[in-house]
């Protein structure tokens, strides 16, 4: 498995850059992953990432996009409760990109 070098430590990730051991996650690691993609995480990004982590803790899976949309709409206001807004925040897709920064496994979608 590939390794991600971060603040003097090696963290195991899969082929697509998702953490192998979810316990390796820290807020700083999430930040670090995003800067590697040339992103700058704002409060709005963290709102999404934190929700993903909370949902995962409860359900052991990343939420469906529409659950995420509804939740963000509730917290950030209805004008932001849509997929367009989430894609603006995470251009590679809220499921894929935000889950990676949140230290969650790669979402499987439908199999």
């Amino acid at each position: 498995m590939p390794l991600l070098e971060f603040s003097g430590k090696s963290v195991e990730v899969d082929e697509d850059g998702y953490l192998i051991n979810l316990d390796d996650w820290t807020k700083e690691l999430g930040e670090f992953m995003s800067t590697q993609d040339g992103m700058n995480l704002t409060e709005a990004h963290w709102e999404v990432i934190n929700f993903l982590r909370d949902y995962y803790a409860k359900y052991q899976i990343a939420p469906m996009i529409k659950i995420l949309v509804k939740e963000i709409g509730k917290v950030m206001g209805p004008e932001k409760g849509n997929t367009k807004y989430l894609y603006e925040l995470f251009p590679d897709g809220p499921a894929k990109q935000a889950c990676r920064y949140a230290g969650l496994p790669k979402p499987t979608g439908c199999v």
């Binding site: 899976i61 499987t108 979608g109 439908c110 199999v111």
Partner: protein, 534 residues
């Protein structure tokens, strides 16, 4: 992740290979294959040689005695499956299959001609198992098993979706899907599966479904749908879970519970069953209709399938309805009865609404929801307003397994035509038994092999484009959860503007329910035709 070429580049395909297939080098190219199976999943499934490995690396970490293992594996299967033995012997290389494969049509790679895909295994069979091959070697089309041959097998057996379109045209009826299945079984003896198959299979083995949904996750997902249904229709639905004594157990692919547009199909089931006041239950144990074990080995397929009958027995239901899915039905229809049956504790399915006896399900006791619904409509049991789907110009994609494997040609069309006013068929050599695969079936619907998927789906997309251009088709209906996952990116790539739907989403949109409020939107929360927007 490998970048996919643009459609204009990808559609330049040379279908006339200029050399003998064996003269083309094997190029294991990013975008055309899936990640290797992970150690942790192989361990869960108790498969051999559990270790992390990468197809991109030279060393695949094979066990020391890999060659003997494969040869023993071939021998065992030749003795066990007469069909396999015959398929290894009878091909006359007439070439009727060559241009019938979607992967060949989308790639021009000669090893994607079904005849060659079989030949890569046959040549080894000849070398070790036939007198002619042993004596005359390459003059008899025989060759030794080497690491390079093994890699060739792996690459091309995971470029076949087991759709069986080629078999339809074979004068001998050679079933390439079975050859691929055996090829993949041989790979599994060495721990050479792909992660996209073993991950879901391991989830299914441990948690009951491919996505790894826990019971409370399933329940919360369905409750989320119920809230949406209440908002849209005003109807409050209260389904039951794991209820003993229900008449019917309902089993559907877990993808319908968690990924759009399958979620709308799941809302469709909920609304239909509620309207019928059907005495049925969901199960959080038998929570997967699909079977990725089927893409691993027969043993694994049997193991993952066993929970359906086990749950039916535990709950004491009379029979089972299964949701819209493709490969799920290949297993249920053709294997379940002998894998885990006879289910003599169940009764022959009879629709409680129409009294229809499902003769075809006499043995398995499991009915596909599309025939259940077609029968309801035929008997006038549903109040339908197809004009609610008037913004849709629909065509129907026959899923390989339900079409070629079960003969479901009329039922889905009958249902769609009763719930939609605008329906157009794709060209006849691309539908019904001649249907083209979505290009991503049999566990190939990962994201890292997107070029392969776009190539394999090219013939299907091409036929959709034809009706899109000619009739303005904007919705591609199907009865398969894999289709619902794989066709949206295929359409976005080749035919933007065409969306994808399960058939029961269309049914639920048209279904006039008792006590419903005047609907303003469809299940996707888009305004109904004539209700603003458009």
């Amino acid at each position: 992740m490998a970048k996919i070429p643009k459609p204009e580049q990808l559609s330049k395909i040379d279908l006339e290979p200029k050399k003998h297939w064996s003269q083309f080098p094997i190029d294991i190219r990013p975008g055309m294959y899936c990640h290797g199976a992970k150690a942790k999943d192989l361990k869960v499934l108790e498969l051999p040689n559990a270790r992390d490995w990468s197809p991109a690396e030279e060393d695949w970490k094979l066990p020391q005695d890999w060659k003997q293992t494969v040869l023993d594996g071939i021998k065992e299967r030749l003795e066990k499956y007469r069909s396999f033995h015959i398929f290894m012997d009878v091909c006359v290389r007439c070439g009727a299959c060559a241009d019938k494969c979607h992967f060949f049509l989308g790639s021009g790679d000669s090893r994607n001609m079904p005849v060659v895909r079989a030949e890569i295994l046959r040549s080894v069979y000849r070398y070790y198992f036939t007198p002619g091959g042993k004596i005359f070697g390459k003059y008899a089309g025989a060759r030794e098993l080497t690491v390079d041959v093994l890699k060739e097998w792996w690459y091309y057996f995971f470029q076949c979706t087991e759709c069986r379109r080629c078999s339809l045209f074979c004068p001998y009826g050679i079933d390439q899907a079975e050859i691929t299945m055996i090829g993949r079984e041989l790979m599994n003896l060495l721990g050479l599966n792909i992660g996209w198959i073993t991950g879901p299979a391991a989830n299914c083995y441990m948690k009951g479904n491919h996505l790894g949904l826990e019971p409370h996750t399933i329940k919360s997902s369905i409750e989320f749908f119920l809230d949406d249904i209440k908002d849209i229709t005003g109807v409050k639905i209260e389904p039951t879970f794991n209820r003993k004594g229900a008449e019917i157990l309902f089993v559907t692919p877990s993808g319908d519970l968690f990924a759009d547009p399958g979620t709308y199909t799941a809302m469709g089931y909920l609304m239909l069953f509620h309207e019928l006041d059907l005495d049925y239950t969901w199960s959080t144990y038998a929570s997967e209709g699909g079977n990725f074990g089927f893409f691993t080995s027969m043993e694994m397929a049997k193991r993952l399938n066993s929970k359906i009958y086990a749950e039916a027995k535990r709950l004491g239901v009379k029979w089972i309805i299964g949701g819209e899915c493709g490969h799920m039905w290949r297993v249920l229809h053709q294997y379940m009865d002998t894998f885990n049956g006879p289910a003599d504790f169940l009764e022959q399915p009879v629709s409680p609404i129409t009294g229809t006896k499902f003769e075809n399900a006499k043995s398995t006791k499991m009915v596909h929801v599309i025939e259940f619904t077609a029968d309801l409509i035929k008997n006038g049991k549903l109040k339908l307003d197809p004009s609610r789907n008037d913004n849709l110009i629909v065509t129907y994609h026959d899923s390989c397994n339900t079409a070629r494997g079960m003969g479901f040609f009329e039922e889905p069309r009958y249902v769609i035509k009763n719930v939609c006013n605008h329906f157009h068929e794709m060209p006849e050599d691309t539908i019904r038994e001649q249907t083209f695969c979505c290009g991503s079936g049999s566990g190939l619907n990962a994201s890292e092999d997107m070029e392969l998927r776009m190539r394999g789906g090219f013939p299907r997309a091409n036929a959709v484009k034809h009706v899109h251009d000619k009739h303005g088709v904007n919705m591609l209906a199907n009865i398969c959860a894999i289709d619902r996952a794989t066709l949206p990116p295929l359409m976005d790539y080749w035919v933007p503007g065409v969306r994808v739907t399960g058939t029961h989403e269309l049914v639920a949109n048209a279904l006039v329910m008792k006590g419903e409020k005047e609907r303003e939107t469809n299940l996707r929360a888009e305004p109904l035709p004539g209700k603003g927007g458009e």
